[in-house]
């Protein structure tokens, strides 16, 4: 069942655990999905973004909101779910079968059907442009050139990689100036410093809470590096970490998983990628965090390696790491920093 997950504050962790559920298939772009799953409360600044992602899901579509306090009202026709992953699966299946029965019951657009700029009928061929590069042909202007150190002054793409991009931790917005595939400038936005709802699904006991949060990060990181099957295994392991379970079996499973991850060569790929002052390259951070997960499970410690990076410290760390790197390396760097999605501001755990 193709589901696109848009995770707001406090919901990102649980969404990554859904990767381990065989019935759901988390897809990378709203275009491939039938059901939009909104978890956690979406901050005010990202409301337009969640509405646009909702509209980008092709018809016939349905919306399921999971533990979403604020947005439930603004998502008309959404089935509201509180409960664990199984409840989400049943809700998604019910919504989907309702769609099958009556495709016309698809959710209607939330944003007005208005072109970004008026363009019809303007310009020589009515496509809204003037001359070679001017005007807003078909509603948008064309990119303008920017200075590039290697002397080729070519066009710059100014993009905002949104809060619900599948590869970035939820709620993180990256303003990017791209020349070709290399980032000229990259700034993280801090505007979503709103609600810091602590993640209720984490076990009360701190060390297993840290281990589960770490495994959730690992599931998303493996997905971004192209290893979906291992990500599903990590997510399934994360959902089994609750305070009461026997830790020896879990730490053995975690150890086996870490060995498999090392055998895929992902650490070799991340060598020398995203060197950040004070914490080495991405491979070092991965290795450190993977060992910390195993030891948090086995001997009930609270390793600080599992402490997710706060958004404002991440922004200063990345200030000089991102410009000049390719988009692939930039995303791998951000993912390896484990920027706390729902943990804006206050130090609570995801």
């Amino acid at each position: 069942m193709p589901v696109f997950a848009a995770a707001g504050v406090g919901g990102w962790g649980q969404t990554q655990e859904l990767r381990g559920v065989p019935e759901l298939r988390l897809v990378t772009t709203p275009r491939h999905a039938s059901v939009l799953l909104v978890t956690g409360t979406v901050p005010e600044a990202h409301l337009v973004a969640v509405q646009r992602v909702h509209d980008q899901v092709p018809h016939p579509r349905a919306v399921v909101t999971w533990r979403a306090a604020g947005t439930a009202k603004r998502m008309p026709g959404a089935t509201y779910v509180t409960g664990d992953a199984a409840a989400v699966v049943t809700a998604v299946q019910r919504a989907w079968s309702a769609l099958e029965a009556d495709p016309w019951s698809t959710a209607v657009d939330q944003l007005p059907d208005v072109e970004p700029n008026e363009w019809r009928g303007i310009g020589p061929f009515g496509q809204g442009g003037e001359g070679m590069m001017g005007g807003t042909p078909y509603g948008r202007p064309m990119a303008m050139t920017g200075d590039d150190p290697d002397g080729l002054a070519l066009d710059e793409l100014r993009l905002t990689l949104g809060p619900f991009l599948d590869a970035l931790p939820a709620g993180l917005v990256l303003d990017v100036v791209l020349q070709g595939e290399v980032l000229r400038e990259a700034t993280l936005r801090l505007d979503a410093l709103g609600g810091t709802a602590a993640d209720a699904t984490l076990p009360s006991e701190p060390s297993s809470a840290m281990a589960r949060s770490g495994l959730r990060w690992l599931a998303h990181a493996l997905h971004v590096e192209g290893l979906d099957a291992l990500a599903a295994r990590a997510a399934a392991l994360a959902s089994r970490v609750t305070g009461a379970t026997d830790r020896a079996a879990l730490s053995r499973h975690a150890d086996a998983l870490m060995r498999r991850v090392r055998r895929t060569g992902v650490l070799r790929n991340l060598h020398d990628v995203g060197v950040v002052p004070g914490s080495g390259d991405a491979a070092h951070r991965w290795r450190e965090r993977m060992d910390a997960i195993v030891c948090a499970l086995r001997d009930n410690q609270m390793p600080d390696a599992l402490e997710p990076t706060r958004l404002d410290t991440a922004r200063d760390l990345l200030a000089d790491a991102l410009p000049g790197s390719t988009l692939t390396a930039a995303i791998s760097t951000i993912v390896s920093l484990d920027v706390g999605g729902a943990r804006f501001g206050a130090g609570t755990l995801r």
């Binding site: 337009v48 973004a49 509209d55 092709p58 059907d113 100014r158 905002t160």
Partner: protein
């Protein structure tokens, strides 16, 4: 001999037309026209300021030029492969020399950093 090419061409065109037909039929007969918010490129939530089509700065342009020169060599190698067994050692030595010359070009390109993202 031309019959073989004809059946190859027929198979290609059949597969291509079948796929194109399915896609065009689906795009024409859909009951939901794409509205403006749906048409915004998928960037995770916000909309881009400009068109994506722009003068894209290709970062591997020296490698592309090097590739074109190297590709020319393929033209010579196919006929050489056919008569290789017949000609014996002279063919091996000759192609060895030819490959060595071109390998010098690749080594020079590697040393000058042509394969790194500019």
């Amino acid at each position: 001999m031309l019959g073989a090419f004809l059946s190859g061409l027929t198979v290609t065109c059949a597969a291509a037309l079948f796929t194109a037909g399915c896609v065009i039929l689906a795009r024409r007969s859909t009951r939901y026209p794409s509205t403006a918010p749906q048409r915004v490129p998928a960037l995770g939530g916000f909309e881009p300021e400009t068109h994506a089509w722009s003068r894209f700065h290709v970062r591997y342009y020296p490698m592309a030029l090097l590739f074109i020169a190297f590709e020319m060599e393929m033209m010579f190698m196919y006929p050489w492969a056919v008569v290789f067994v017949e000609e014996g050692v002279t063919a091996l030595v000759e192609m060895g020399m030819f490959l060595a010359i071109l390998a010098v070009g690749v080594v020079y390109g590697w040393r000058e950093g042509a394969f790194r993202w500019q």
